[in-house]
Amino acid sequence: MRAWQDLITAALVVASFCYATWSLMPARWRGILTGAMLQWPLPAWARLRLSKATAGGACQCDGCDQGSPAPPAEKKIIFMQRRPRSGFAPKRTNRGV
């Protein structure tokens, strides 16, 4: 009985270590590793699962598929200042300019 417990425990620890390493490794390394593993003669379901798993990270957040695009050229902001009309100042006019 004790030997079975040892065996199952060892299998669980090794599987957990592999899973945690896979989840926490940088995405680029994971991509390289997946590429290498896809060269092996794996069944179709395993290949599909492997290629899907490449995208996932430890945080399980999607939408992180590509890096940020190059920022677009910044647009110059034109500040418009409203000048209050003064009752004493002469009226401005464009006529004759």
Partner: protein, 637 residues
């Protein structure tokens, strides 16, 4: 002047691609979910989608289409990185991505004046296009009659009415798409996209006015009730009072509403732990299940109700249209510390997780403002910190009322506030010293107030529960098993007995914990806490599970597996608990966040700087809190 290109024969090896394009907050993601069965986030404010999303839809004839949901944009001249994504995909400028075969221009039927401008620009690309007139039900309810046949005639493409949030009209849309792909599934003739003409905004607006006069001559005014509500919600003083009250209510509810379901989960975990201990023979597997899985993973699972209550309120606010108003309200405050008002929504998203928050900074046009927001986003309290806070508050803050309010709720509110205040302070320093830029005025479209959709709410909560359970069953479980292994082996020497100290002290984790204690002892952290901090780098909640496992292996009885809080309350001083809380307000980020910062900034410099400054802040704040609490009378640990 538009460049005319010769029609190109597009060789197709895979399915056709349809891109959903439109102004922000017109319902693209809701339509995408409806067409593809996906569960992308949907909310009532601009800038929810910042990256392209892809799914599959099926036409009536069984043909499969790839549907791409793109970030919203007001024009084809991008001002922000998320708008740039839309342009790059539409013009085929994105590396390794083909130009979409057809554009579905999603239009908010209640705001044609704004939305039709982009449709006219898209028409200029010369690609096949279908217009989806979304929120058609709201437009009808507002008394707006749109002549869709005339609109189709004016735009020169099919127009279909849809109500994406109520699952109406998507079949009509798929039906309208059919004829475009009916010719052949293998080959399809289409023009390559023309470069967008340098369109004059005034000319476009004149065209829009002309079309509107023909298709929807009677434009309804916005409901007077909405203006009245805005007068209160966006008032410089009353608005802040309303915002504070809303946030306060959320944190009170997180503690008071969650008690019953949390107790039920605790009892269930205790029963499972007892049953496992009684049914199995002593051995490593029993120890792994009781001390590692049930004490560790079960300790984290208990916090699911609190996380769901927090998200219930966040989703409610997102769907109602309140968030952009809060962004306007806080623009002045944000401007004073040098941040753009647009930073509000990314920072608010960081309450869920820093990763989507950092991604959401793509809506900020100015690079320095964006960088400053990225650097402070991790200071907002992410949901992974909630289990740590809840555990320590539950153990050390008495359950009593202060002026009719729960003291525990007040403490949680204070911790969230500490995160916000420190983010503002750090942003102030960064913007004054390093990332200087002039004030960028906030321009944000205010969506109308809407009743939150029950479907969205249920779907959002379901998604959050799944994300949490996936984390618990995935990375947290695996780290707990590894930690159990490191805390159990090497085993103590043969002549060891319990009087020589716990067996865990001889293990690899015990030795590491004692070594780390030299660094963390000035903060009042014992060797058990020092061990828990290490796996907490992978995911914050793991620290709670790790404490459960470490204390379970240190204890003589199996009581820790049932409830960690009383054990911590008995073993730690108040100063140590407060010091650990202060640590987690600033705690260096999880590895995933640092990786996303690296990707968003295209440099290792910023994530390294972020980790360094957060570690320094966490250490300083913990030390100060520990010393101050000791000085005020909290006993040392």
């Amino acid at each position: 002047m538009a460049r005319t290109m010769e029609p190109t024969f597009i060789q197709r090896s895979g399915p056709f691609t349809v891109a959903l394009v439109g102004n922000p907050n017109c319902g693209k993601s809701a339509l995408f979910n409806l067409l593809t069965g996906a569960r992308q986030k949907v909310a009532n404010y601009a800038g929810v989608t910042v990256e392209r999303k892809q799914g599959e839809a099926q036409l009536a004839d069984g043909q499969r289409l790839v549907v791409v949901d793109l970030p919203g944009a007001y024009s084809l001249s991008p001002a922000t990185p998320d708008e740039q994504v839309m342009r790059e995909v539409l013009l085929g400028e994105r590396a390794g991505e083909a130009v979409p075969d057809l554009i579905v221009a999603v239009v908010d039927a209640t705001n044609l004046r704004m939305n039709l401008r982009l449709v006219l620009e898209l028409r200029g690309l010369g690609r096949p296009m279908v217009v989806a007139l979304n929120m058609a039900d709201v437009a009808r309810a507002n008394g707006l009659a749109i002549d869709t046949a005339r609109l189709a005639q004016e735009l020169g493409c099919p127009v279909v009415q849809t109500v994406a949030v109520k699952a109406h009209g998507h079949r009509d849309l798929l039906h309208a798409l059919g004829p475009f792909f009916a010719q052949s599934a293998a080959h399809y003739v289409a023009q390559a996209p023309q470069a967008p003409a340098a369109s004059n905004a005034a000319d476009l607006q004149a065209q829009v006015r002309r079309i509107l006069a023909l298709v929807a001559p009677i434009a309804p005014a916005r409901a007077r009730f909405q203006h009245r509500l805005d007068a209160v919600v966006m008032h410089p003083v009353l608005g802040l009072v309303v915002l504070a009250a809303v946030l306060f209510l959320i944190f009170q509810a997180v503690f008071s509403w969650a008690t019953v379901p949390m107790d039920l989960i605790k009892q269930a975990m205790a029963a499972v732990g007892d049953w496992t201990a009684q049914s199995m023979a002593p051995g490593p597997l029993r120890s792994l299940l009781v001390d590692g899985v049930i004490a560790g993973v079960g300790g984290v699972l208990v916090f699911l109700p609190q996380i769901l209550i927090l998200f219930f309120f966040i989703l409610l606010l997102e769907d109602s249209g309140y968030l952009p108003r809060a962004a306007f309200l806080l623009d002045t405050v944000m401007g004073k510390v040098g941040l753009s008002g647009r930073a509000f929504i990314p920072l608010l998203s960081s309450f869920a997780c820093a990763i989507p928050g950092i991604m959401a900074t793509r809506t900020i046009a100015n690079w320095r403002d964006r960088l400053a927001t990225i650097m402070v986003a991790p200071l907002m309290t992410c949901s992974a910190r909630l289990p740590v806070y809840a555990l320590l508050i539950g153990a050390f803050v008495p359950e009593r009322s202060v002026a009719g309010l729960s003291l525990r709720g007040l403490t949680l509110f204070g911790l969230y506030l500490a995160g916000v205040v420190s983010a503002m302070a750090v942003a102030y320093v960064f913007k004054r010293v390093w990332m200087k830029s002039s004030y960028q005025p906030l321009m944000l479209e205010l969506p109308p107030y809407r009743y939150p959709s029950l479907r969205n709410l249920a779907q959002g909560l379901w998604e959050r529960a799944l994300i949490f359970l996936r984390r618990v069953g995935g990375i947290i479980l695996s780290l707990m098993v590894i930690l159990w292994f490191l805390s159990t082996y090497p085993a103590p020497p043969a002549r060891w007995d319990a009087s020589q100290g716990p067996a865990i002290a001889y293990s690899a984790a015990g030795i590491l914990g004692h070594a780390l204690q030299y660094v963390f002892a000035p903060l009042g952290f014992n060797w058990q806490i020092s061990i828990a901090l290490v796996p907490g780098m992978a995911a914050r909640e793991v620290a709670v599970g790790a404490l459960g496992t470490v204390y379970s292996l240190s204890a003589a009885d199996s009581g820790v597996a049932d409830a960690l809080s009383p054990v911590l309350a008995a073993s730690w001083s108040l100063a140590t608990a407060y010091s650990l809380l202060a640590w987690f307000v600033f705690a260096p980020q999880c590895l995933s966040t640092l990786a996303v910062v690296r990707r968003e900034t295209n440099s290792w410099r910023y994530p390294l700087l972020m980790a360094a400054y957060l570690f320094a802040l966490a250490y300083a704040a913990s030390w100060l809190t520990y010393r101050l609490t000791l000085w005020l009378g909290g006993a040392g640990g």
